[in-house]
Symmetry: C2
Subunit: 247 residues, 2 copies
DNA sequence: CGCTGAGTTGAAGTATTTCAAAAGCTGTGG
DNA sequence: CCACAGCTTTTGAAATACTTCAACTCAGCG
């Protein structure tokens, strides 16, 4: 087993399971029947592969990526517990993106036909899916806006706030800080910056006492308002935009 | 009426209606009942507005945008005839993006409840919607990849190829060139470049005889292979990825 | 104890932006 | 028909944000 993340003995339950919350327990049971564990860094699906399954993340993180021929990689999105990943392209049969495990975890991999069946028989699941899709589009749009028009500082600040909100949608987190299981290099691949510039930008935010970073991406916000100003977003607004109703 | 685009007396039918193709004529009739004409540049929906309607583009182009406080605007996507726009955020009731008419045209604005009803009664529409959603995600992911990791040349080349394919999904266009109803400034807002750099980049492509540009964005490809190499995509692959089956 | 991967920092290079000025087109009103 | 206003495109020059390269530190691990 890949132990790259186990050095801190982080159990799957260290990662939030907020997404599972709204699911009726009998539906969870159905999904659990399709559950498959995955190890961090495992490539689950390659762009262009035949694929007609929908992935429901039970716990752990997935990274959705695309690459250029020269090997440069863009992380299009991260899928967190409760998120639904439909990797298929417009032809319905090949994957438009790579799906790679970011941490250890579990996912229900449901063949499309079965998924459609589930949607038909569980109106509540259909509703959740609708809202989850809107959330995905909204958060990707926010990121595209900053990818196209934002400075490095804005991109970093926004990404951190997005992670913070997705990890604890209630906005009433019990602990002052939070951990994101990604390297600075990957944060760069996510927001379109070199790892070096991510480092410098984070350092600047720390120097200005807006936040602190410890022990490989344990983040703590100190000046939440300043950070939000830099990110160009009000956290409450962002929450409404990217967190499905009912969470 | 706003005449900014009527100088060339372009009738709506100058814009492609490929999306309407797969729709049964009786379904088209239902949608036509919700049809509303729009004038170029008209703002149809503002980010944050109450909105629970789905927009089916009948003809003309819509621009989906997001703005920063400082006024900088990113065009997240263009919606072409046959495309379905669901502007709602994760809360299901407010719009996550601005929707602005790019050209004159017509769109069916269907209240969400009615839309759900249509989906239930028209399996074919449901299927189309599924594929159209996959297409939207796939093409935005391709653009994000280049926004994050591509050079100006790559972004311009990719955008032009994307427009070319979306305007004529058959890849067997009757005329050698095609027109895109956007300014260089807007192309910049779409791919994250200043209008000045869009201009320089286009000029370089023209100088290298890869394509020609005339009369406000009448584009003609001369070295399609070279352009595809610069864009980092094989047109046939891109077509499979972003054009819904059956078009 | 030496290896590996992640983070940090400085210096140099480069892609892109910004600023500014001018030229081209299009529609408008005299 | 001409002159003018307004917008888009074009081009040059200077500024800048970010990348690349390279060297070094640090922590965890075999």
């Amino acid at each position: 087993m890949n132990t790259s993340l186990s050095k801190k003995a982080r159990s799957p339950t260290d990662y939030p399971t907020q997404g599972a919350g709204p699911l009726a327990s009998d539906l969870r049971y159905l999904l659990d029947r399709h559950a498959r564990p995955f190890d961090a860094k495992k490539l689950l699906l390659l762009q262009g592969d035949e694929s007609s399954a929908v992935i429901y993340v039970i716990d752990g993180w997935l990274a959705l990526t695309k690459s250029l021929e020269n090997g440069e990689k863009q992380i299009i999105d991260f899928a967190l517990p409760g998120d639904i990943v439909d990797p298929s392209a417009a032809d319905g049969t090949t994957a438009a993106i790579n799906v790679q495990a970011q941490t250890d975890g579990n996912a229900a991999v449901v063949p499309r036909a079965t998924w459609e069946e589930l949607l038909r028989s569980w109106p509540r699941l259909y509703e959740l899916t609708q809202n989850a899709e809107a959330a995905t589009l909204a958060r990707r749009a926010e990121r595209m806006l900053r990818l196209g028009k934002g400075t490095a500082e804005m991109r970093v600040a926004y990404a951190l706030i997005e992670f913070c909100i997705r990890l604890d949608p209630t906005l009433k987190r019990s602990t002052p800080g939070f951990h994101i299981p990604i390297t600075q290099q990957q944060l760069g691949d996510f927001i379109g910056l070199s790892s070096v510039h991510v480092c410098r930008t984070l350092r600047r935010l720390v120097r200005n006492e807006i936040l602190s970073v410890e022990d490989h991406m344990d983040i703590q916000f100190h000046e939440k308002e300043a950070l939000a100003r830099i990110a160009g977003i009000a956290p409450a607004d962002l929450r409404r935009e990217i967190i499905p109703d009912g969470k």
